[in-house]
Symmetry: C2
Subunit: 334 residues, 2 copies
């Protein structure tokens, strides 16, 4: 396998990406095309040069830029150069910790979507005691339609069964209440499309479903999906930081904290969103993978085997045939 690794755009920069690549090369069998400042990275990767191809550039797309304009104008940016290289048949996937918007725009204009897919979506695994729930969309798309939400459900289900190995996954719809008929018009209509499909649809799920694992795939528009994700992360962070502050407030509480260290560690590891190095952008013709923007080398290094596994699962072909099937069913019914 050959992966394109975008070394620019991560908060910690190209050196971190080189260190992560080194960690992954020690453990996994793959070749890499590294896109970024060669002079910064080559010394770190000196033992693996035979497995590396370089695309030397210093330009990249920032989070503040208009993604579509930037993809069109910044021809020397790491995202544009990397995605162009991905289009060649010897390359299997693309990984970046840079701008999500640029990845999405590049996915549309350079990699292209799977035939019949209206929008690509980010599919992050939300860790929970039930082994995790995939949230689609986590924030790639802001304005969507019921049909687009339905496609997110299809793509999320294919990803869950083919890549994460949970067959016939339960697909839920993020909503403000469990009863049918709840929610805004978009969600009400998406409910009908999901109910009438051959997905294993379990109905409306309130946001706490992300934590109790009451579904394997949770469908949401990117706006409310992102709100749910960030509320979850923010709440957990605030509560743990308050507990930490409390523990450090006296000798008595310090002892209490020491006795409960294992408990806190267990909970943190069950719900640690950095247990996953990244998330795929589902719906493009070749595998695109987004690592956390604030990744350190250890976390970024996790994303590499995730992408290797994802790319080897040939999810795009399965999504394409599902979408083709849905389209035919739709035609038959009309």
């Amino acid at each position: 396998m050959k992966l394109i690794i975008d070394a620019l755009g991560a908060d910690e920069g190209a050196v971190m990406v080189a260190e992560a690549t080194k960690l992954a090369m020690e453990r996994h069998d793959f070749d890499a095309v590294l896109v970024g400042p060669k002079n910064q990275m080559e010394p770190i990767l000196s033992s693996y040069l035979s497995r590396i191809e370089w695309i030397d550039t210093n330009e990249y797309i920032t989070n503040d830029e208009h993604p579509v304009l930037a993809i069109r104008r910044k021809k020397q940016s790491s995202t544009v150069l990397g995605l162009q290289r991905l289009n060649e048949p010897d390359c299997d996937g693309f990984l970046t910790a840079g701008s999500t918007g640029a990845l999405l725009a590049g996915g549309y204009f350079i990699t292209k979507r799977i035939a019949g897919i209206e929008r690509a979506c980010l599919a992050a695994v939300i860790p929970n005691a039930a082994g995790g729930t995939v949230l689609v969309d986590t924030g790639a798309n802001m304005d969507t339609t019921p049909e687009i939400l339905f496609q997110f459900g299809t793509m999320g289900a294919v990803y869950m069964s083919e890549v994460l190995g949970r067959s016939n996954p339960r697909v839920g719809l993020l909503n403000v209440g469990a009863e049918p008929g709840k929610g805004d018009k978009r969600t009400q209509q998406a409910y009908e499309l999901l109910k009438d499909s051959d997905l294993n649809f379990v109905g409306n799920i309130e946001a706490r479903g992300l934590l109790d694992g009451s579904c394997d795939v949770l469908v949401a528009d990117g706006f409310s999906g992102n709100v749910a994700l960030k509320t979850l992360e923010g709440t957990a962070k605030t509560l743990f930081s308050e507990i930490r502050k409390g523990i450090y407030s006296s000798t008595k509480t310090k002892i209490g904290g020491a006795l409960l260290k294992g408990v806190f560690k267990g909970i943190a590891s069950t719900y640690d969103y950095k247990a996953y190095g990244g998330a795929p952008l589902l719906g493009t013709r070749k595998p695109l993978y987004k690592a956390h923007g604030n990744s350190g080398a250890q976390t970024f290094a996790l994303a590499i085997p995730e992408l290797l596994h994802y790319a080897s699962s040939r999810v795009e072909e399965k999504i394409a045939s599902r979408v083709e099937g849905d389209r035919k069913n739709g035609t038959d019914e009309n």
Copy 2:
């Protein structure tokens, strides 16, 4: 002051409401119109009969019914009878733990909206270390426009300054990122309206703003506002339940838990959403107040002085004059 208290529709029923009313009558000076089964409640309130008027009924609107149809058809329901009584000049406010949808529909068709207000919104205080943030809307409206979101901001700001006593409140807009231009089209346009207003607008706020108190009033459409609220409550509940499970797992951790009891108690009290008995539905001509559906008597009893204070603040008049001012400014600019 005379409050109408809907005794039906709460999970725990009319006896709980009677007990809550008794608790509140012991401590606060007000008269009540109790709407519900008189025979169940009269014995509990025997010491306060001179302060109570009865509207005897057993009918109420459930959460499963279509609210607008139910308000039109169930003429003997506690919500319809209570709201009709509220329209008489001697009554000052209405409290219910029943269906939010029925309260909203009754507010529109019986109490009526303030002139110029397009939609009423639920304004819940989210407790946090900064003294709380008002979230408008918490879930009354599913399909909204930028103009409606702007009005939520105006009403939330009036409520925060006039009722909760924080002057010139910082108004934020719930969004997926802090930068201007983020979000869906509705949110982007609401941003412009809020920015150009005379509100103390502090820009886009990510969901964690509910916890760190980076704004006093957070504007959201009812769908994503409700998702944020439920994710917050669900995450806190899950984490505390995991901690409790961990504490009970061994003698060592039980001792740890005992030593940290004060810490957990402090955090739970800072973030306890039941510290407030309920939330107003802002935008109607007379004060409507929603208590938690799963209230016990203690929590429901908290909502009564909250409503007394809210009703005495004459928020409706201040909202009406703000909306009138906004309308005039709008006309001047055109």
